[in-house]
């Protein structure tokens, strides 16, 4: 199996169906292919519809949404809601928080995952099996919500960045992906570097990492998207709304909590947040992901395959 993620992705994109001969083109099979194409188009439509719908709502007038007239296209087209949401300082504050948390958490995760994966990739290392076992076991058994909460509280990390950055610093799945990648690198390079007088740290920094740009990029993507999307740690460990990431801001808005009433200014007496404001917030939250999605998708796919193949 090829181990370079980009090549894996190409291989996956290549036509995989076995070559068919004329013999194979029975009438039944041709009919099947037409049905199949229709089925897949339906899958595409169903998958995309919620996105289209939420975008349409974000540009629509509240009355039209409430009357159930907004489906694929905006009704009562306006950009007012975007202006309202984007002029809300709480929204931008939570957006900035998300960026800060994502960048910090990704950086820390990357350093820890890389160093540990590198250690685990050394087959000669005594105790390696134990080190792997310690990490893999946590995939199947964990302390659970309450002991984790107690721990974070006791460590005094509530309402600090650390509460969401540290407890999930290493994803074992990512660790295994990276370990598999390091194992696939030619040993001779590292041996040559060692003969030239580089120590372990030097080999890792100056030989292994430059060769691992593809997998490092994959890891950055995995961690960044996971952190961008996460909400529960922040929801659990933060009491102050000025610390909320945008996901928690959105969650409070969806559940109609009062923290979001600042949006809409004069209408703050509304207990229910307008549907179009919710839609705009959703669109703005998901926008960075959608924007990079086409470019990152193949790296994700190859990363998942790499992790699975080597598991």
């Amino acid at each position: 199996m090829t181990t370079d993620p980009t090549r894996l992705a190409e291989k996956m994109a290549a036509p995989t169906a076995p070559k068919r001969t004329a013999l194979d083109d029975s009438r039944g099979y041709r009919a099947f292919r037409k049905v199949n194409a229709v089925v897949l188009l339906v899958v595409v439509a169903v998958t995309l519809y919620p996105f289209v719908n939420v975008v349409a709502q974000s540009f629509s007038d509240e009355q039209h949404i409430l009357a159930g007239r907004v489906n694929l296209l905006p009704r009562g087209f306006n950009l007012e809601t975007y202006k309202v949401v984007m002029s809300d300082s709480a929204f931008w504050n939570s957006y900035a928080n998300t960026v800060l948390y994502t960048v910090t958490a990704t950086a820390i995760s990357l350093v820890l995952t890389t160093t540990y994966a590198y250690v685990l990739s050394k087959h000669h290392l005594k105790g390696r099996g134990l080190l792997i076992g310690i990490s893999v076991f946590t995939m199947f058994f964990n302390g659970g919500l309450i002991p984790n909460y107690v721990l974070i509280s006791e460590l005094g990390m509530k309402n600090t960045l650390w509460a969401i950055v540290l407890p999930n610093a290493i994803s074992v799945f990512n660790l295994l992906v990276m370990k598999a990648f390091f194992e696939s690198l030619p040993k001779e390079l590292e041996e040559a570097a060692a003969i030239d007088g580089l120590n372990t740290y030097g080999i890792l920094l100056r030989v292994v990492l430059p060769l691992s740009k593809a997998v490092v990029a994959t890891m950055i993507l995995f961690y960044a998207v996971a952190n961008w999307n996460s909400w529960f740690s922040a929801f659990l460990y933060f009491d102050r709304s000025d610390l909320f990431p945008v996901t928690v801001y959105l969650r409070n808005m969806i559940s109609g909590a009062s923290t979001a009433t600042s949006v809409g200014g004069a209408q703050s007496d509304l207990t229910q947040i307008n549907s179009n404001i919710k839609a705009v917030t959703m669109v703005l939250t998901v926008l960075p992901i959608i924007a990079v999605y086409p470019f990152i998708q193949k790296y994700f796919v190859s990363g998942v395959m790499l992790g699975a193949v080597k598991q």
Partner: protein
């Protein structure tokens, strides 16, 4: 747990570390020698090990508060032993049994739909000959996987709201609008269908990868023997992806008890508790809302132990019967 078996398939005999004949009797690698030789490697492992110790193993030990009286602000491990008090408490708790049943129901339904559907989709995708169409369908179907669960819940609640799209379809067929999000009878349907929406495309990745490894000659041979499309799929394609299917089945079984905690928490409400409340959301309310930490920890421990037992048994059964296992 044996770890050697997690090696790549190309090295089934275990890691190539010092095969016996090469190792002179008097030169056995001791820990001291290993440390003096590889101390730099071990030093790199220190911080990650500290992470696992503090954030993974300490909470496991912290579960002792399930058997001790915990006072907020007091010791991490509780104040005094109370034995099985909290275990008995949930065994006698009617709400616990209700949420236990809900967990089983949601877990079973999720397994029933979210495990086979990616296989079906992968098989359908595999029959597509137009490369661009195939890639287009894949790209679109992966998309929901990249969304925050908060966004998914938001979209879902909009779609099933009284004025939402689903109700427009209902009205178009002459029905009267239903407040889906408030109806306990609809919760499972909503949960499972959104779960399918979110995971089915992403779930095809590994199957599509497995499909590429099937030898084309098998199909040619089958055609010469007169096998039609269905027979080829049944006798070659499906057996070809069986190891992948089993691996994913074991993993799915392992997450059986942990049914989408975050999603349930986001989309349920007191009206839908009768069907929506699962063990993890109940323990969240007991622990975080009612501050009964020891009781919640006991429930959580029970949940984790069942989860671990499930994955261990699934793995053992699969190894005995079909010879494929995670480790």
């Amino acid at each position: 747990m044996s770890v050697d078996t997690r090696e790549p398939a190309t090295a089934p005999a275990g890691p190539p570390q010092a095969p016996p004949p090469k190792r002179p009797a008097g030169n056995r690698r001791t820990w001291r020698k290993a440390f003096s030789r590889d101390w730099q490697l071990y030093s790199l492992a220190l911080v990650p090990l500290l992470f696992f110790l503090v954030f993974r193993y300490l909470p496991m030990v912290g579960n002792v508060i399930a058997f001790r009286r915990f006072v907020p602000g007091g010791s991490l491990f509780g104040e005094s032993w109370v034995g099985l008090r909290y275990v008995n408490m949930f065994l006698d708790d009617p709400t616990f049994w209700q949420v236990f049943g809900n967990t089983l129901a949601l877990g079973t339904l999720t397994l029933l739909f979210c495990f086979p559907l990616p296989i079906v989709l992968a098989l359908l995708l595999n029959e597509v000959r137009t490369r661009y169409f195939k890639r287009f369908v894949q790209t679109v179907s992966y998309l929901p996987h990249f969304l925050s669960i908060v966004i998914v819940a938001g979209m879902l609640l909009q779609l099933v709201s009284v004025e939402g799209t689903v109700n427009q379809v209902v009205k178009a067929f002459g029905g009267s609008p239903i407040a889906f999000a408030q109806e306990p009878d609809w919760f499972r349907t909503i949960y499972v269908s959104s779960e399918v929406w979110q995971t089915v495309g992403w779930g095809t990745i590994l199957y599509l990868a497995a499909l590429t490894t099937i030898d084309n000659q098998l199909y040619e041979a089958a055609r010469i023997d007169g096998a039609g499309r269905w027979k080829q799929t049944w006798h070659i394609t499906l057996p070809g992806i069986r190891p992948t299917m089993i691996t994913l089945l074991i993993l799915n079984i392992g997450t059986f008890m942990a049914v989408g905690f975050e999603k349930v928490l986001l989309i349920y409400n007191p009206l839908t508790y009768p069907t929506a409340d699962v063990i993890s959301t109940y323990l969240y309310r007991v622990g975080m809302v009612s501050n009964n930490f020891s009781y919640a920890a006991a429930i959580g421990l029970f949940e984790s132990v069942i989860g671990l037992t499930l994955i261990l048994s699934a793995n053992a059964i699969s190894r005995r019967t079909v010879g494929t296992s995670l480790w």
